[in-house]
């Protein structure tokens, strides 16, 4: 215990990119994520958002939890933990997964990278060491290592992201399909690039040994100088992910292991993630409960809403009638989408009312006067932002 700095225990950890972030964060807009000092925004949220949608931006994912799961039984262990069939994740491929309690309630979501026959990386938003260790119990040959602090990871997102990587000299990156992993020799180590991200747009995530992190940042920024590269923070990410209709813990779902009240957590079916639950694979935790849920149908369904007017439906209740006497759900995330020019939201709505009319009661403030409006909501089938370039291989350069 370091007692020379009397506040050492209170200080947040610093990302390997911190020397550059500190310079760029002219607004000193810091918050925290998993014990790391983390930018809420660097300069201006909307500016950063448009960089992501129009040019490219980098988002620090060092604080995101990363676990290395290795061993002969690693695949079986993961396959029993998550609802997707891990056996189907090919070498150097990534899959988005969720994992649940025995009762089929969602603990967290994350991505699984298959790095070898018997080696995986799992990433997720909040720590899950205890759950992983609990899951690994009883398997002969599997080790779980938290490698969060050993890796530097940076997400590069936006239409020019491909061009930047090409400029950086990553040969063959053009063949990377969505959810592909490519490996490049990098100053004696390996730079791993996955075509993944949290913006719904063209984008990549770069992973390298911690000691090369800053160097990678510099080389990436040098390559990106002509392509408008810019760091973006938590706030812009949240805008981009909502347009892509990606879910967030503590917004769309309450992590089951942190849920106090009975069934205040969610099932994958409620979150519209039924496609991630594979009943054809070998046994997985929560299978029986989820099968019940599937047959019965979820009580709530996470729904994408296009809402009348321009006032964001933050924390609004959803009603089945304009008089607001029959409450049928609540908004989990909402904003005005600058790219789509629409008032968008995600909302949890009682499944049995989904096909009827949907009304939101929105409260807002105008120069200290508080108003409320009841407005009509339209269900959307597709995410609000789905550019074709996100799926094209090779992708366009701008």
């Amino acid at each position: 215990m370091d007692t020379t700095d009397r506040f050492s225990g209170e200080r947040l950890k610093l990302s390997p990119f911190y020397p550059r972030q500190e310079e760029l964060n002219v607004r000193e807009a810091w918050s925290s994520w998993n014990g790391y000092k983390f930018a809420e925004y660097y300069y201006d949220t909307e500016f950063e958002y448009f960089c992501v949608r129009n040019l490219c931006g980098t988002y620090d994912i060092c604080p995101m939890q990363k676990y290395e799961i290795k061993g002969r039984d690693a695949e079986t262990m993961l396959n029993r933990m998550v609802t997707r069939d891990v056996r189907k994740i090919g070498l150097n491929r990534v899959a988005y997964c969720v994992w649940c309690t025995d009762e089929g309630r969602m603990i967290d979501d994350g991505t699984i990278f298959r790095l070898a026959e018997d080696s995986f990386m799992l990433t997720c938003g909040s720590p899950c060491t205890a759950w992983l260790e609990m899951s690994a119990f009883g398997f002969g040959d599997v080790t779980v290592t938290d490698i969060t602090d050993e890796l530097s990871a940076l997400s590069l997102q936006g239409p020019t992201s491909f061009a930047v990587l090409k400029k950086m000299g990553l040969e063959g990156i053009e063949t990377a399909k969505p959810f592909d992993i490519k490996l490049f020799p990098y100053h004696g180590e390996t730079l791993m690039v996955s075509r993944t991200g949290f913006t719904g747009d063209l984008g990549y995530e770069l992973w390298v040994d911690r000691k090369l992190g800053l160097r990678m940042w510099d080389e990436l920024y040098a390559a990106g100088a002509d392509y408008g590269i810019q760091p973006y923070g938590e706030a812009a990410t949240n805008m981009a992910r909502l347009e892509a209709a990606f879910i967030m813990p503590a917004m769309e779902f309450n992590e089951a292991l942190r849920t106090v009240h009975f069934q205040h957590d969610q099932t994958p079916f409620e979150l519209g993630l039924g496609w991630l639950v594979d009943f054809k694979k070998p046994h997985f935790s929560g299978r029986a409960a989820l099968l019940d849920e599937k047959l019965r149908g979820p009580a709530y369904t996470l729904t994408k809403l296009d809402i009348e007017g321009n006032r964001p439906a933050e924390a609004a209740h959803i009603y089945s009638n304009r008089r607001c006497t029959r409450e049928i759900g609540y908004v989990t995330s909402a904003m005005w989408s600058p790219a789509v020019k629409a008032n968008i939201a995600l909302a949890m709505i009682e499944t049995k009312h989904l096909d009827g009319p949907l009304w939101a009661e929105i409260y807002y403030e105008k120069e200290l006067r508080h108003h409320s409006r009841v407005v009509r909501c339209e269900k959307q089938k597709k995410p609000f932002w789905t550019p074709a370039r996100a799926r094209a291989t090779p992708p366009p350069e701008a």
Binding site: D2, G9, T129, L257, R258, F262
Partner: protein
Amino acid sequence: MSSYDAIVIGAGHNGLTNAAYLAKAGLKVLVVEKNDYIGGAAVSRELQEGWQYSSCSYVCSMMRQAIHRDLDLSRHGLLLVPYLGTVNFGDGDERLLAYHDEEAAHLELKRHSPHDADAMHRFQTDLTRYSQLIRKTLLRTPPDPTSFRPRDIMELLFLARTFWSLGEKEIYEYVRFFTMSAAEFLDDYFENDMIKAAMASPGIIGTALGVYSPGSSYILLHHVMGDVDGSIGAWGLARGGMGAISHSIASALKSYDGEIRTEAGVQKVLVEDRKAVGVVLENGDEIRSDIVVSNLDAKRTFTKIMDKADLPDGIYEKAKNFKIRGSSGKVNIALSGMPKFTGVPDNPYLNRGGQGFCGSLETMERAYDCWKRGRWSDDPFIESVIPSAWDPTVAPPGKHWMSNFIQYCPPKLADGPWTPEKRDAFGQTVIDKLERYSPGFKDLIVHMEVRTPHEIENEIGLTEGNIFQGELTIDQLFFNRPFPGYGQYRMPVKNLYMSGSSTHPGGGVSAACGANAAREILMDLKRPNTVPEDDFYDE
């Protein structure tokens, strides 16, 4: 000969609360207290000039906000201030610093065990869930499960419904939790012994159980189910010391024209025709009243201030068998400066928290083994707090007051009765341990008060010095408290009630026992209820 509607025996915080609610309902109430000060175990006393000693209870988290608000205690001078985390000391150099900030606390746990740092979320979630369920019952009178009266049946249904709402899985987990030991409960979450020891310490405070004894996980919960402003598990200090709580309630009582008479120990409860009709004081004065409320513990009430002949058959034996075991000691120290502890950064925020000298599970359990054998451990568990770091009223500027609570200290020693020499030797053991973690500590001592169960019993009348007025084990909890059949504050003699911690919900400065008893009395008198029914926090 004066006459009252109700006499409350004992001016502890529950007795005062009970009296305040009766007076608020318009009754003519008298509280009689044997000491020359009020407060019972919630006191502040100037034992050294310039210092206010909270010589018994020292921190507070169970005080029902509903009562605080209802009796308007802040207007009567009460301010409860939450204090920040606790520094836990291991057997050796290990320290577990409980930072107030969530991120910092997580990183600190991670330093000891990444697994446990993560598991802490689940632990806190589960404890919160368990707490919420119990908290719903605190300001309610337990039902009598042997009765068919509609009120009892309704209350049982309420409980069943509340319990049911946990969902199948949590019902099982709850029952499990309730009956197991603190150590086993913690094993479900943690692997690191330092973390387990720190988390287990609320499981032994005040009880004659060890961390490995089944039932100690409930004790753990009993200590963390309180809250300060809705944050469950937080502890607070009363500005001015714990006596401020008693004084504010007394002030509320007086505002409703209630009376308090000190130095008026009760010799005997007067019973005529199997009805309590008043009390006889130790000085021979007889005071009559329609109702008598004993705020003393159940054992003392029925074996000391009542005639066995006045009691129905079997009650005396029940009282004798009532488990009320002294297991705790207290060393209160006036300090000339702030002690520095090795391995702890000089962080002013941390200094405003407490210190837990828990060592390890084994050290704690071995201290319990000593207690069983009628001695105290050379390496006892100590929970300390330095309220003067927060509260300018309890020590002169620059000087400090430190409360040390020690588990375990036997009520009876194997080698004969307590003597002043043995008491001082016990105090020496405690400051020796503190000196080990804070070299130079002894030089700071200005004055020191050592209280073994013997002193606690003699001075404030808690039998054996048990801080809860009776063990908190299943056989003495809820409708079993103090005895099955008498869980609703009414005692076997008509017009006699109990309001102390011997009744549901048990020990702690919660004021709930006194308030619940008042509700029952008013119901019997067919008076409108003045007692808040439930906590108003939406959880």
